[in-house]
Subunit: 372 residues, 2 copies
């Protein structure tokens, strides 16, 4: 599975149980975003806390999706995660979808060959143009957010030498982005995050496992608000030329970001001021993460260069021991200074930034979470 | 006069009154540091608040010493300030000294020709080596901090085509760095700043004018503590390569700063951890300001390119009107966007950084303080 578990909720547990039941899998593996998620936000709980919850709820092995793939547009996120799962020897790729019977393979086969060729309209975001194109080509309306994610997974899977079997699983919550908590025991991550900002504990308790509830109640959760003073400082301290060196800074957005930082009262206000038709909120937020982390154009590398193990059950450990000698990349269970200053640099920095807020070490002192 | 007024105290008032009495000056002018002072610290009160206090206590004209000269080692600070005073048509340069009868001119004439030639000893700071050298050459022991400052002023003055008359004035507080508040109505700035951190209001009230006391009691004062989270973030977010581009980053100190930022609990703890025999605390603090402001090696320019007016009395205004057409550099009373993005960039950024803490605009909306 490909996951963010932000936070781990009943829908995730249902999805995992269903996948295990349908496949009779020997081992279940999740490739999970680290401390920053795909939409350019800090995860509420850190990668170790989320790994522990995933293991407690039935996962056998949790591997970190490197920052350079996790905090990226959906197609790069998907390609990084799918490659990692394939590398780890998975034969089946399960994912939740609003319409699991949708013809994902046909859709994927009809996606535009080049990222940019078809999108010359400058007053719409890329996702809108992309979906319009697909509907024109296939007649299928790809609008539901998990269907879209599933589509990117399938498209990436088709690029593999030996594609995995795909297993779309019906989502019980209608829309990942729906932010209403209903009467059901299942709700989307977005709805749960919204309920948390409003401290609606009874509503949250209904839709997450007990362990998640305890973690959310007892651990320090992190949102963009904590990083806003640092982001504002960085946007104001750096010159336009310095900001132009940041990964994905383009179309003059650096001027808007600087101006918005000068005028805004908080992070949400800042986003509203910086928003244009050509940038989604997710793209803006990712750009802010790159600014915070000082990711320059030279840094990102979306090649799989290592496999960072976040945690395992006994089954997961046995499986890992069996395959690790045959993996073409190093399996990392403990980071060294060489790793921190080398291939793991960006992931380390991403954790260090979180550590500045919570005081909780993210890499130097951490060992994989072991479920006994 | 050359000043920082951090904060304006009775010793400053005495010095000004004495200088006026001894010279019968038509107009008194201070070149003053802006929002960051020479030792690499934020001024307790901002440049407008300090200008107002200076005018209320008898100055006629206050001009900003540009950041690129103010936050520098003493000889560059002195040279920038002396040039500015000379440019403004001053005929006398007054300054406080522990030993006003000292032979400053002989000392200045015997200073080492090159900054670095004589200082190959790597376990002492530059000031220590410099003073040892001077004593060897002249037999004069130049140890008191205001004597040293006076020496740098006189040395800079000797470089002028038409040097000003120098007027050393006996300081009543024995040492600028003495941090004890005695029974006298005069104390050093360092002693006053220390008393303020301990909220010793009765002691402070004894040694500053009433207006200073009111300002310190009612306005938000700023210390390094306010900037510590931003500095720590920047030191940790930037790579060693990025830090190496910062002005004056040398001798591998960037590694120490990064390590100290990782381990330290607060700014003072950070300084202690970063300190080496080759770096004074002032030099370390200045380096931290450069990091905060992202001053890269390309930026500083110690040539006088403008004359930013912070405030004036009626006498000062008349004098300014009389001379401004003959000045070889622009007289700036209101900054424009062109100035902010051009020659005034660093000063603007220095103020913006302060504004992030206090919310008080430092340049865009400010006009000179006018004493009526």
């Amino acid at each position: 599975m490909i996951a963010e578990y932000n936070p781990f909720h009943n829908g995730h547990r249902y999805q995992l149980a269903t996948a295990k039941r349908l496949t009779g899998a020997d081992v279940s593996i999740a490739v999970m975003s680290g401390n920053w998620v795909q939409r350019g936000e800090p995860a509420l709980l850190d990668k170790w806390q989320r790994t522990e919850l995933a293991l407690q709820n039935g996962l056998d092995l949790v591997v970190e999706l490197p920052f350079s793939m996790a905090v990226q547009p959906a197609h790069l996120f998907a390609s990084g995660a799918v490659n990692m799962l394939s590398l780890l020897g998975c034969d089946t790729l399960a994912f939740g979808a609003e319409h699991p019977d949708m013809d994902f393979s046909t859709l994927a086969a009809n996606r535009p060959a080049s990222q940019t060729a078809h999108f010359k309209q400058f007053d719409e975001t890329y996702p809108t143009l992309f979906n319009d194109y697909l509907q024109q080509q296939t007649g299928i309306d790809l609008r539901a957010s998990n269907d879209i994610l599933g589509f990117t997974y399938v498209a990436a899977n088709q690029q593999l030498q030996s594609p995995m079997t795909i297993l779309p699983i019906q989502r019980l919550a209608s829309d990942h982005r729906s932010d209403a908590l209903g009467d059901s025991s299942i709700a989307s991550g977005a709805a749960i995050r919204k309920a948390l900002t409003e401290a609606q504990w009874p509503a949250v308790a209904q839709v997450v496992p007990q362990q998640t509830l305890t973690a959310l109640r007892t651990q320090q959760t992190v949102t963009w608000d904590a990083f806003w003073p640092l982001l504002r400082y960085q946007l104001l301290a750096q010159s336009i030329e310095q900001l132009q060196r940041i990964y994905q800074m383009s179309e003059g957005i650096e001027y808007r970001l600087k101006q918005a930082a000068l005028e805004a009262n908080d992070f949400q206000d800042f986003l509203r001021r910086a928003k244009t038709k050509r940038f989604t909120y997710s793209r803006l937020q990712r750009l802010c993460v790159y600014v915070l982390l000082q990711v320059t154009t030279a840094v990102p590398n979306t090649l799989t260069r290592y496999c960072r193990i976040l945690g395992f059950s006994q089954t997961g450990q046995q499986y890992l021991n069996r395959i690790k000698k045959t993996l073409p990349v190093p399996v990392v269970t403990k980071v060294t200074d060489d790793w921190i200053n080398g291939p793991y640099f960006l992931d380390y920095q991403a954790g260090l930034l979180r550590q500045m807020i919570t005081g909780r070490d993210q890499d130097r002192l951490q060992h994989p979470v072991i479920l006994r």
